[in-house]
């Protein structure tokens, strides 16, 4: 076995160190800057203690955006999961035009979010876009897609769902394709109908893939801000602001680097804690209930 040790670190270290070096500086920088009053007219790393954090505690916009993100991300990911699973089941086998559907259903995740959001903006344009036009043609009232809270949230979720359901679809379809046939034959022999087969066989077998897909999507959704930025700019009012977008306003648009640093740090910690808890819960419920 000697000689092996040397190789052991050769495998892991290059990747680990690269990532560590690239990530550690931003982290330290953010921690340090969050204690400074760095802003546009005072771009220096001074020290102002915890003033930024005190200010943050009273920042309703920030806390509201965190809460909104949790609901928005949770909701969208869940819908994506249900739709992605349904689609994967439908084109899994016995479907005409299988390959065409599969390719088509994959395409949205390949597209650039900011670019597609710009297209979506034209689609939801309230007077020039096709959505309201088509609603009008079938005699339905037009909707204030980007200017009233409810519809703006719906529009935002629509774009997110359009973009990322394919991701769920891909993972779940690949998962389905890797299942072995035996449990299904057994279920068929037992005379189980499609619904029972799904809940007793397919769903439990897919639990590990499901957990991975959900967690990865939740991680990605927790950063949601591109679509907000292009589509609603957080409006109307601040009713569709996510923390990512709010941070963008504070940190980049207003150049309040110090304050944004403290917001970033809090946001990051909250997300890590929340996502860790959620993923533990997911692993536990899905794997034990079905395992």
């Amino acid at each position: 076995m000697d000689g092996m040790r040397r190789y052991k670190s050769m495998f892991l270290l290059p990747g680990l160190l690269t990532l560590f070096i690239i990530i550690i500086f931003p982290l330290l920088f953010t921690i340090r800057v969050s204690f400074s009053g760095w802003n546009v007219s005072n771009p220096h790393m001074d020290f102002i203690g915890g003033a930024n954090f005190v200010r943050m505690l009273a920042d309703h916009r920030f806390w509201a955006s965190i809460l909104r993100l949790i609901l928005l991300a949770g909701g969208t990911v869940l819908i994506e999961y249900v739709l992605g699973f349904a689609l994967a089941l439908m084109v899994w086998r016995n479907v005409r035009g299988q390959r065409v559907w599969r390719v088509l259903f994959l395409v949205p995740m390949m597209t650039t979010p900011v670019v597609m959001a710009a297209i979506w903006q034209t689609i939801f344009n309230e007077s020039l876009g096709p959505v309201n036009d088509l609603l009008g043609r079938v005699g339905l009232p037009t909707v204030q897609w980007l200017t009233s809270t409810g519809p703006a949230t719906v529009a935002l979720m629509t774009v997110e769902i359009w973009q990322w359901t394919p991701f769920m679809f891909l993972l779940l379809l690949a998962g389905l394709l890797s299942l072995s046939k035996e449990p299904f034959m057994a279920a068929a022999i037992d005379g189980a109908g499609p619904v029972r087969t799904f809940f007793k066989v397919t769903f439990p077998l897919m639990a590990p893939v499901s957990v991975t897909a959900l967690i990865i999507r939740l991680i990605e959704a927790s950063k949601m801000s591109d679509s907000v930025y292009v589509l609603t700019s957080g409006g109307p009012g601040s009713s569709t602001e996510t923390p990512g977008y709010y941070l963008y306003i504070r940190g980049l648009k207003e150049q309040q680097t110090g304050y944004a640093g403290s917001l970033s740090l809090t946001y990051l910690v909250l997300m890590i804690v929340t996502l860790t808890i959620v993923s533990r819960l997911l692993v536990r419920t899905l794997k034990t209930r079905t395992g």
Binding site: V40, S41, Q144, Y229, S233, P236, E254
Partner: protein, 535 residues
Amino acid sequence: MTKHRRAKLAAALAVSALAVTACSAGGGGSGASKPDKPAKFAPGSDISYTKYGSNYPSTTVKDVPGPCSYESISKKDYSGRTLRVISHAVPVMGEPTQLHAKQFAELTGAKVDVVNVPFGELYQKILTPLQAGQPAYDVMFYPSLWIGDMAPYLAPVPQKYLDTAQMKDVTKAYMQVATWNGKVVQYPVDGDRHYLKVRSDIIDSPKWQAAYKAATGKTLEVPKTWEEYQQIAQFFSGKDWSGSGKLNYGSAEVTKRDDLMFSAFISRAAAYAKNPNVKTGFFFDVDTMKPEINNPGFVRALTDFVKAKSTWPPGGANFGLGDEIFSFGGGQTLMSYSWDDAFIQAQQPDSKIRNEVEAAQLPGATQVWNRDTNQWDTPASINQVPYFTWGWTSAVAKDSKQQTMAFDFLCFFSNDANTALDLTIGRFGINPYRNAHFDAAFWEKQGWSKQTAETYVKTLSDMEKSPNRVFDLRVPGVNQYMSSLANGVADAISGQKQPQQALDDVAKEWNDITTQVGKDKVQAAYRNVVALENG
């Protein structure tokens, strides 16, 4: 062992790939200025953009002799040098930047790299490298109100350029806009203000005048006050007055929070809150730096703004400038107030409503808040306050190594021939800022009707003459102030807060911002703004 060697080779390849790209990046480099070369243009040549694209107007103008003319610039040899330029997204300001960069490169042999950035990104994209001491751009095009944040990093315009005829023709207001602490640090390339635009065909139509009279008992004419504006907009909303088979609406306004909504609100507030007898500032009391943003004048304007919702087209509560331009310029709405763009758009040769529009001063108010006496004043005539809102400007970075070339580029950009052509292309967003531009004949030559041209020119030149006017908050941290204001206004429009509450909150935030940025700094800068207001 080969296994070893191959593994190393793979690693080496990855590294060398990086190295190769590293070497190919970079570039630029200064170089001693070279002697002049022969000119490519004869003095007074015909200039036209047609060779750059089939959609440019076929208009031809004469090259006006001077240090910035095609002829003079084509004598310079900047080959082997790179000019880095940042500008707004295409087309507004971005397209002329691209076009003139291309021409400048052809004339001088320089390499001109232009990057176009959406409005919301421009501020941080320019400021981040400046603050980090990273020389990123030689020439920057940006909204002039950022001067307070930009000034420390800008190179003053050299005397030689200030002495040119084209610079001397820039109106007083726009020279003031370009000046910071007595130095001209911005190179004027555009003039901007807010004014009112209306569909003259409808306002002047007997049919609609009769209908309006029947409904309201009032005469239909171009609104003089915000109350009239609201009433007319209301009347014309939801009617198909254009006969297109689709509904039309009363008013198109810029209402998107992170777009330019703050300017729309200032337009609406100017007449209520800028009292000609109060000389100590519009946004703040300059002596105490107490925010005035929540005084009854502003609250009244915000109340109006919220009420105006019912006169907007679908989506009107999230209109960016582009939407407003499309809406008015496309014939969907009767009235609009903001920059020239919607007006010029309506006047494009292929426009359906060409010469059916007219310009006027922003509506005024019959009452104006007096904060010294804490009551509403009722002036003898309507209180009309022009708003010199920001326009595009340009500047050269202090740490640029290509300052001469940079200023040559800007003076070429704004030479008489180019400006004459640029003014007529709506999507360029370049609007009159020299005395020569306030000439109705020039516009009539572009195919404008006499009425349209005259109201346009008169509106603009009247604004220059007014002694009671509003400028943007040209102080450091302006983006924070405006972002906070826009947020408050948006909260009121979306119904999340009452106007008074919303503006009280803004005032509170403004105090915090002032403290953060430094009261003295803001106050000093604001004194200059106040001086302009009463100019």
